[in-house]
Amino acid sequence: MSEVDILSAVTPALPPDEPEFQQKEMLLNVGPAHPAMHGIIRILAKLEGELVVESDVEIGYLHRAFEKSCEESTWNQAIIYTDRLNYVSAAINNIGYCMAVEKLLGIELPPRGQYIRVLMSEISRIGDHLTCVGASAMELGGFTVFLYMIKGREYCWELIEEYCGARVTTAAARVGGMPYDLPEGFLDKCLWVIKEVREILRECDILLTNNRIFVERMENVGVMSAERAIAWGWTGPCLRGSGVAYDVRKDFPYLVYDQLDWEVPVGRRGDNLDRYLVRMEEMEQSCRIIEQCVAKMPGGPINCSDKTVVLPDKKDTYGNIEGLMNHFKLIMYGHGIRVPAGECYFPVEAANGELGFYIVSHPDEHSKDGCNDRAWRVRCRPPCLNMVASLPETINNYMIADIVPTFGSVNMIGGELDR
């Protein structure tokens, strides 16, 4: 329902002779200039007192033509646009996009590359969940928790920075491989970070989980049943909070997730508290995954051996003519990676849920091999679009103050919502 619809629904309901101050319902714009709305979303709420009787969500404030930009750039150039999807856990987006392209190419990474991808994904996931839980707690007044958790996220982001030199816009994957091998001592640092994160989780668990003020504002608020959640296309921690054990990593295993020992936490009631608890437990599971990755980290190459996809070593580029030609063939305009015509959909489990890339490679009639150096269509399935689309269902008939924890537990990220 658009703003005009709601307005017209409110106004004619008044009898013409009734004075205006007896109007019972109030239309309230929550956002975009509202502290809890990130500046990029507007909730139009019809209030009866403080009760939200009807609401509408307006998105699109951060639309920047992500998909079109990807279609305008070559396969590898599009990676930096995926950084901007869920900017809190950018490495997962990079890896998801690259794996979609790799599926079209029909190539697979050697084990070390796969383990590094899992490692990066899980470090990013911990950072994302820490941010989400910390920010929700802060919006309920728990500023201490926010700072503790941001400290934890800082450790995670320092790891990512050490790997790829960037904290937010990581570009931590390439089609057919990873940009860098692990730096020295990285695995030991991972273990240290895991230890610190677990300590932070323990502290925050004490601060929040049995905190009556926190629990009373989260429990039985923003309830979404499993059926409705599936109907809306929910995925990720929010769906698991509603009691559906769907996790792309378990149900459609990619990389080496099926070789690792970890569990999928689920909630029971589908309220904000369950979503919070699921996120807390998922961080612990991610810690377990990282531990196993560190223990099992194999040696060997990180990139696949296909020279038509992966850039040669720098010593080859500068050292021999074949390497130099290989490099130019991959970099030059109109050449690049030759992805055969076809289409594919590849989902990964991002921090918010199923992040899928649907990619169409269309044959270029001008090229000899019938391949194209860029995607004809890139469609991103952002996880939090479905959650935000169903936001009215989770905030209607609750108090206006309940918008904040519900909205926080959905973990809307403008980058992937508006693309």
Binding site: M26, L28, V30, H34, P35, A36, E50, M138, E139, L140, G141, F143, T144, F146, L147, Y148, K151, I213, I400, A401, I403, V404
Partner: protein, 370 residues
């Protein structure tokens, strides 16, 4: 008459300065304490010529900033009410402090001065009456801003403050009944007695449940977390949404001042006011000023109390004394007197003839007399 007027002005100034200072320091305490809890350093940047005072200067900087910020009035707001609301929020809080006694009557320049601005026999009613006025500040602010958020905040603030006002008022009924008076000064004096000779008869002892009700109600009244719904900074931003500059500051100054004032009320009603338990002056304990603990020990404060040899001329009729202090020589070395009849002549230091006051027999006076 001018002196009386001056004394009143002086008392008002004293109370005002103390409330404002208290409020300023409380903002600092809140910032530093929450910083400590959440692994931060807290306010520490503002400095005057490099002097930071652990961040205390920040309060000054805040005040300066607020004063010089634009005083914005929403275009469709009600100007007059918008102007009045912060005054309603802050004024009554300061007025409430008028009836809180902050010390026993003192004698200065031949006048008995009560350390209390307004000695009302219905003091506690006055407190409740002025406490309720502060609600208007939030309500009017919400209304005058012509903002839905401010309106919601104002409604919340008034709903919360009125409901906790009831608790606040009713929790004071118990102590009022026990002490049998509405007058804060008399209430304080009524708490200067001892149950079974050793428990101070404080409001918190004789009316513990009233205190347990009063404390959270006072926290709600001052809108501290977890009762910070009217502010609701994460969802409705609160009744002060459309306020800026010092007008906004006045709401929060009022809030912090209210902490000081409610602490004053709490001390008056539940914690014996200005009386320190087991501390007696010479009149009550036969010349032995200091702490007389119920288990018998005695901690002397100062010298032989009002036998202040530097100021008063003392004539002691020593009985079983080791050393009889010479009345005329004021630089007697250390002395110990087992039992004396201390007869003190209060007068000027010149030692002119004055009135003797009998303080009865003193026991075990051990002290050093300059």
């Amino acid at each position: 008459m001018f002196i009386d007027f001056g004394i009143i002005i002086g008392k008002i100034a004293f109370v005002l300065v103390n409330i404002l200072n208290g409020a300023g320091i409380l903002t600092w305490v809140e910032r530093k304490q929450s910083a400590l809890m959440s692994d931060r350093i807290g306010a520490n940047r503002a400095s005057i010529l490099g002097i930071r005072l652990l961040g205390l200067v920040n309060s000054l900087a805040d005040a300066l900033k607020l004063i010089f910020k634009e005083d914005f009035v929403p275009p469709r707001g009600v100007r007059v009410l918008h102007f009045l609301a912060p005054i309603f929020a802050m004024g009554p809080v300061f007025l409430t402090m008028a009836v809180i006694p902050f010390g026993p009557p003192i004698e200065l320049w031949g006048r008995d001065i009560k350390l209390q601005i307004l000695d009302l026999d219905i003091g506690m009613l006055y407190v409740l009456a002025f406490g309720s006025i502060a609600v208007y500040g939030a309500m009017i602010a919400g209304w005058a801003s012509n903002s839905k958020y401010a309106l919601l905040g104002g409604m919340r603030a008034s709903a919360q403050m009125i409901s906790y006002e009831v608790v606040l008022g009713l929790s004071l009924i118990g102590p009022i009944l026990v002490f049998g008076t509405l007058e804060p000064g008399l209430m304080v004096n009524a708490q200067n007695t001892y149950l079974w000779g050793w428990i101070p008869q404080w409001g918190v002892i004789v009316q513990p449940i009233a205190f347990l009700l009063f404390l959270p109600a006072a926290m709600a009244e001052t809108k501290r977390a977890p009762f910070d719904m009217p502010e609701g900074e994460s969802e409705i931003i609160g009744f002060a949404t459309e306020y800026s500059g010092m007008r906004w500051g006045m709401f929060f100054l009022g809030e912090f001042a209210e902490i000081v004032v409610l602490a004053g009320i709490m001390t008056t009603v539940f914690f014996g006011g200005y009386h320190v338990p087991f501390l007696f002056d010479a009149v009550e304990k036969a010349g032995q000023a200091g702490f007389h603990f119920p288990w018998g020990s005695y901690f002397a404060l100062g010298e032989v109390d009002r036998c202040d040899l530097a100021n008063a001329c003392v004539r002691c009729e020593a009985r079983d004394t080791d050393v009889a202090p010479d009345a005329d020589s004021l630089d007697v070395p250390a002395f110990s007197i087992r039992s004396i009849d201390a007869r003190v002549m209060e007068g000027n230091a010149a030692g002119g003839p004055g009135e003797y006051r009998d303080y009865g027999p003193c026991h075990t006076v051990v002290g050093e007399v300059k």
